[in-house]
Amino acid sequence: MSDMTYTKDMFQKVKRESYHADEIKRPTIKYWADVWRRLKMNKLAMTGLFILIIMGIMSIIGPHLSGFDYKEQDYSQVNIRPNSTYWFGTDELGRDLFSRAWLGTRYSLLIGIAAALIDFGIGVIYGGIAGISSRKVDAIMMRIAEVIYSIPYMLVVVLISVVFSTAGSGTSMFVLIFAMTITGWVPMANLVRGQVLQLREFEYSMASESLGASKGWILRKHIIPNSFGPILVNVTLTIPRAIFSEATLSFMGLGLQLPKPSLGTLANDGLAVMPIGLFYQILIPSILISLIMFSFNVLGDGLRDALDPRLRK
């Protein structure tokens, strides 16, 4: 009703320094203590964590416990079923499977975790930026991701491992991880972007935005913590997927380079004696893989519940 005119200079942008209303006041340390407290209550998750710790320790000391070297061949002790001397039996070349299995666990874990972390890092950064950027940048970024992802995964992995095996010494662990992550991060980026698109429409993001918060800040403080659940679940599944990819590559003869065993190459070796009824050679690495998967999954679920800000009391 007033005839007063508003001019631009009458307004002043609220500076972030002077406006802390939207900041999380609770100290970080308490937040993690809280997460831990909640996690401890989840028996299944703790079982998973316990198994992972045991397997982690065994992957370090396991290869030295049986007294047999993992690569020593003994042709007089070929294909021995598990007994008191050879706890996990021996393979076709008379090598001790106990040492080999735990060493394989070590390399499989390393490959899985490294690949998952790289996928996670690239995926979150890339997907997050794409989701929060302008439509044009988003479109270009998604296009690039789409191109990378549109090249069949197996084809890329095979090509990469062949190209790089010419330069150096076979399929090294780094070539394997590189080949697996080159397309592996895209699903993660897609997931993050999808979450961001969905979450930025929620009222609290809009509120922050209208209150002058920068995009990066919204991403860090709202979107990433809120999309942590699905992302974490995805990471816990990326580790098994990387371990699987390595196993599949072993099946094609492109697995981890000698003399290092992985659970994948061990399972593949076990396949060779399956037709003559020696199942322990494939069962042992398969069970170890399953244990790793189980643990990561229940731990991931437990973490998800514990981290979820909406479930905090």
Partner: protein, 310 residues
């Protein structure tokens, strides 16, 4: 909407072009040629004849332009390894087989996966949750070559009605479909469980509940509908991965699908076939992703796909 689809279509063509270019560079950077065989080497003069026959003696740039021209006409050329079939014929023959297997598996996964996940979420940390978890963990725990081999060893050889590998009738598809479905089923159920839990904790669900709407209606109306989104976001890639075939399952069960060519074509340096399956895969994937985005938009109106929305 039509404008959006048209735009995506144009972008799809750009994507395909980029894929062709990258694949071309990659495959020619790998040493070897399509004619070498493991058992027998080919003398240089005969190699020359072969190179000439398939146009590999021409400069790379010329070969690249030839590829582009032919692919524009949907002609992927002659396979350099198989004299009896063109690349188009190989795809036309292998794809229906892989697609059938893949779609059967996706169906199994889509029917049981989200259901399992929803049950797990509704009974969080109770017995049904654990049962669902064990099922899905078994699914993600066993490498497909182990699972496939065990299925053959312990099911196919024991149950007379189920054949040991091969292809043809419905019963041939049972074990491989199951083996392929286990992984996406587990992924779907876990994603479903996690997003359901998240949504069940949200205010609008509480509001709906407090308004006295029945639990079932709340779950169906709000929770499931929203929780299914993350599944749909990975559906596109899952479908295209499965539909073009799984190398491992097809090899173990002796299924004449497309999956094997993704690896054998590289080992054989069958350039035309590498290009053919890559472009074909990219086409399937891009179409699947477009469909998924449309589905996403239809299911969740909050997601903006068009400028008009703002």
């Amino acid at each position: 909407m039509a404008k959006y689809i048209l735009k995506r279509f144009a972008l799809g063509i750009v994507t395909i072009w980029a894929v062709i270019t990258i694949t071309f560079i990659l495959m020619h950077s790998v040493p070897g040629n399509p004619f070498a065989t493991e058992s027998r080497k080919i003398p240089p003069n005969i190699m020359e004849n072969l190179m000439k026959k398939y146009g590999l003696d021409k400069p790379k740039s010329e070969q690249y332009i030839m590829y582009l021209k032919n692919i524009a006409k949907f002609d992927f050329g002659e396979s350099m390894k198989s004299d009896s079939e063109t690349v188009n014929q190989i795809i036309a023959r292998g794809f229906p087989v892989s697609a059938r297997l893949g779609l059967q598996s996706i169906l199994i996964a889509l029917i049981f996966g989200p259901a399992l996940g929803a049950i797990a979420a509704l009974y969080q940390n109770k017995i049904p949750d654990y049962v669902a978890m064990i099922i899905s963990i078994i699914g993600v725990s066993v490498p497909s070559f182990v699972l496939g081999s065990f299925l053959i060893q312990f099911v196919a050889t024991k149950v007379e009605w189920i054949p040991i590998g091969g292809w043809g009738e419905f019963r041939h598809t049972l074990l491989p479909s199951f083996a392929l479905a286990v992984m996406p089923l587990a992924r779907f159920s876990r994603l479903m469980r996690s997003s359901m839990l998240e949504i069940l904790g949200q205010d609008y669900i509480k509001t709906a509940k407090s308004k006295g709407i029945s639990k079932f209606a709340v779950i169906m109306k709000h929770a499931v509908r929203n929780a299914i989104l993350p599944i749909i976001s990975i559906l596109g890639t899952t479908v295209s991965d499965l539909v073009v075939g799984s190398f491992v399952i097809e090899k173990i069960f002796g299924i004449p699908g497309l999956g094997q060519f993704f690896t054998t074509s590289v080992f054989n340096r069958d350039y035309t076939l590498i290009m053919g399956v890559t472009v074909f895969y990219a086409l399937v994937l891009i179409s699947a992703m477009l469909l998924v985005d449309i589905a996403y938009m239809l299911i969740d109106p909050r997601i903006r796909l068009t400028k008009e929305g703002h």
